[in-house]
Symmetry: D2
Subunit: 345 residues, 4 copies
């Protein structure tokens, strides 16, 4: 079988770097071009020295994209830049997996409210499929534009949708308390990510205003038909990789610990990358892998359902999920090239 | 003024070590004796080498306690051992500040249910005052036995009591999502605290069953008159010191962000160790100090009141609070010897 | 081609776990049996929960080893236990790669001096080949017993041997200042590896007495013919994985920065897992991979040659190197199943 | 006794912040003014929120310095800026403790070679006393300009000077292998200090070219009369605070472990802030304190003297030492206001 040809647009950030880690050894694709506007002309190892002897790719400008005959392009670009790329290139030349937030929300209006930024490619919202394979596998198969989910939303939507869909929980008062490693904030040094300030530290941020809130709510609505109200509270963990999300919700009817566990086992039984675990999961048990570990329990005393889920934010929360989407779009086995065993300890 | 004479029973753990850090330079007391059953006869610097040139105390058996004329004894002992000490020595010889959980709960029955352990000194429950000065300052002043609060409960009770007492929130459905550094698990090496397994890791534990749950509920009840249902979920942060607690509750009546902020400013205005902050607090801003930083906000979209509070678990969560209680019991200014400025960064 | 059949004896430690990570997806072998005396009967996921859905192996006693027709056995056992296994099973039934220190030293006498332990299988010293492929590839190919190198020695021998062999440095006064992550101390919790005590901490240990000293010296002697005197100083880094070793030595003759760099480029040119880098290497650039990054420079002012090398102690320092040895012993391409790209950041 | 009046010029960095931590509670001084050019007009708590309720100082421009009647000024300014301040204000108005590197080296020529920067106040080199009290206590007492030592040099000079001065070691071939926490790189976020890149990482840097080399050599020369050649290799530890320095040197004559230990005990016997320890010291045993812990040993096998020393780089390596110098200049007891017990664990 001839290999599929892919390009990576914007390869100097953490998600670009992680895409390279996954795609270099992917058996069914070749990386045709890798772009960076600021570093065009340099070797990839000038930017990512850990790839020495592994890849000798040269970075080029995304203007060169049209010179290649590509099957698919990953956009590892900042919010606001992806939409310009899509506007310029359209969706006919190649399939597109966008890792930014530009096409995750239902429409321009919601986008502009939460991202405080004008959307320049609104006509493409109708083409975009939300790239969470466990929910939208069939739609992804035929999509030309996949909006790869945010890392926080991935960790929250996976445990919440079964509860909402199967009428287990009330749709208001859902609390999502998330804790993320610092790679989630991107590869660029900024005052808030200076090492000595974060080391040994911990804090909440973006309470009541984080842009992942509407992403969680709109996907749950789209998938289950229910309108939910989700309070999303992100916290910054003093580690490099990983998100752990704890959710709290109130049962709609009488439930038991066994009932919610069975629901999770049955919903996720055939999912390669979802592991239902019988104890609260540990972040390092998914490090470097594409797994999402999910735990659910019910507290009789307070009548609350609790879920705890873990992902590596650069894998199932970004690049791993993007490759999973690519596999689906190409008709490959979904886990191809994604068999990384967690790096533990 | 002659100095007060104190003893530390059980000085080889983290709280014992932190008590020494605070008491060695305390201007109004002298440390008369420091005990350890396993290390009696050794110098304190054999166990705590960082005290070299600072203290030349020798450890002795607690059997020797009666040889001293003490004003107050700190019990830095494991749960279950403190009560035996109290049973043996009574409360007449010296004032007692117990840093274990043996006298924090309202009675023997609740204790035995949550601690899975027989209580051997139940008659002293009626003497014990819960040592949270911001709530029970007057009772502490006249107490002979102070039950020093748990670290998690301190971080949860301080932000929750104003909301409950001033009728701001519904008493059911209160979620307390706490994250603690590893010193909270004690100084003894165990499988769960092996460095490589925790480094870069994060997890929840003790969901629905942690013994700090009844401590939080019973103190809120005792102080406010309201019976609450609190879901307490602890998580283990891969750092040494510090607890950050996020709480979620539902307003009882119409509220606004300004209203809850004003409530906190007014309730804590005169509290030396409580700092109401207008942004989510950072753990390192209280490291090594006796402060509790508290933030409160209201999310209109989901109608939830959120609080975030931070303490150093060995200070306001243990030894610092114990010294604060001692100061009150001795009639000293409450902040004497506790003016440590946070060690940041 | 039929697959080779291997066993892992002692799979519950960190090197056992890392061997599983590497061997489960190795294309040319099957894992026939995995042993643990203390956990025989349990599933591997009871001990290593991160392998859930990845492996359903059951642990058995090493007494069962004889029931299998094995091509090779990895001994991931503590020092002192491997030699008993070898004594019992001999070398005829299967090839053996021993990850302990039992056969790394030249003979019983040196072993007993540094390990303070009686050696019970001394006749096998003559069979043992030191498993550093970059030095002993040909010998490994025909060996029946490979003594897999220690993690520290691997990081020190690789940069030092070219300098000694090509007569670049004086053989006395060689300083090896090593810094290792805590997984090097094993998977068992002990007082010295309690999380709060190591977090944010750093120290030297085992100055002048570490048992890796004779391993470094004897291998350099065996390989180059020169007798050296190496001062080896280990330090404990507050991280999970990785060793960085800085060496200092004095030129024997006139050298230049360019000369030593060229030597390294030429010596390591064809080595798949050695990357000569032109700047001091970073630990995370080898994390999770089998690479050893090596940097060399010359300081004219003080007339010293400096090398800095990095490895992942569980990979090139243990399990990765063991699999590399296995590949050689089986006549496979040396990098088979070891193409892990460093997990960075 | 009326209190001494001091100013802090440049208070927004880490050393400025640490000076505030030390001076706010210092019993014999008052902080008259605190300056920042970029934040003039703001409250100190806008920049250092952890000082909330502790200090209500307002930042002002250093132009205002002349409005105050100050006894002493701390310059917590970047290299290159301090000298302009000294040039402008001279040394008559107030005593000056400069925490930058501008006056640490012997003269303009050496400065410009290593700092690659023009020196604009060369006439003041002759006034500057190197502020290491253990070496220059008497000179500091009468100095009007004290050049506060660099953090690395402090950790290297303290263990090396006894060995050089008492003729114990050869003056060439001295290796100084230092490991520093990241606060040593300053409070400003830069690409090299981005949290995810340093977390769990470790590396050497500035090999053969670090500007602390001439500081170490010139101070040893000045103090002992011997010209030494020191190879200084800094490494970056993934922690916030602390420097550990390991030195290696060759005896000039026959020595023993006991001899070098006795030398250290006798030299440092009366030094309040130097603790000679009989085991390799731990970084956290000095955290937050002004101690320097020093260990010395001799390796007979390789005939090398090894020292290991630890400091908190913001304390004995910067602000703590600056306050120690101030105490001496004011004729106060040297440890006044510096009695912080190490924050361990």
């Amino acid at each position: 079988m001839p290999k599929f040809k892919v390009g990576i647009v914007g390869a100097t950030g953490y998600t670009g770097s992680e895409l390279l880690r996954l795609l270099i050894h992917h058996p069914d694709i070749t990386i045709e071009c890798v772009t960076s506007e600021t570093h065009a002309g340099k070797r990839i190892t000038d930017i990512h020295p850990h790839l020495l002897d592994i890849s000798d790719i040269r970075l080029e400008s995304s203007d060169n994209i049209s010179d290649y005959d590509l099957d698919l392009v990953f956009l590892a670009l900042p919010h606001g830049v992806s939409m310009s790329f899509v506007k310029e290139h359209g969706l006919d030349k190649f399939l597109t997996v966008d890792l930014s937030g530009d096409f995750r929300l239902p429409n321009k209006k919601v986008y502009e409210k939460w991202y405080k930024k004008k959307h320049v490619a609104e006509t493409y919202f109708e083409n975009a499929v939300f790239g969470l394979p466990e929910l939208y596998r069939h739609e992804i198969r035929n999509a030309r534009l996949v909006a790869n989910p945010g890392c926080y939303p991935t960790s929250a939507i996976l445990p919440l949708t079964p509860l909402v869909k199967y009428d287990m929980i009330q749709t208001s008062g859902i609390v999502v308390d998330s804790k993320s490693g610092v790679t989630g904030a991107g590869a660029k040094a900024k005052p808030g990510t200076h090492f000595p300030d974060l080391f040994g530290n911990f804090s909440a941020y973006g309470l009541t205003s984080h842009r992942h809130t509407p992403e969680i709510e709109s996907v749950i609505h789209n998938y289950t038909g229910y309108t939910t109200e989700v309070l999303f509270s992100p916290h910054l963990l003093p580690i490099d990789r990983g998100i752990l999300t704890t959710t709290y919700s109130t049962p709609k009817k009488e439930v038991s610990k066994e009932m919610v566990e069975e629901l999770f086992y049955s919903v996720f039984e055939k999912e390669h990358f979802i592991r239902v675990v019988d104890r609260p999961p540990l972040l390092k048990h998914v490090r470097g892998s594409n797994y999402c570990d999910v735990h659910v329990t019910y507290d009789e005393r307070t009548n609350k359902i609790i879920t705890v889920s873990t992902i590596d934010n650069l894998m199932k929360g970004a690049a791993g999920q993007a490759v999973q989407n690519m596999n689906i779009m190409f008709g490959l086995i979904e886990s191809t090239g994604l068999q990384h065993i967690p790096l533990n300890p």
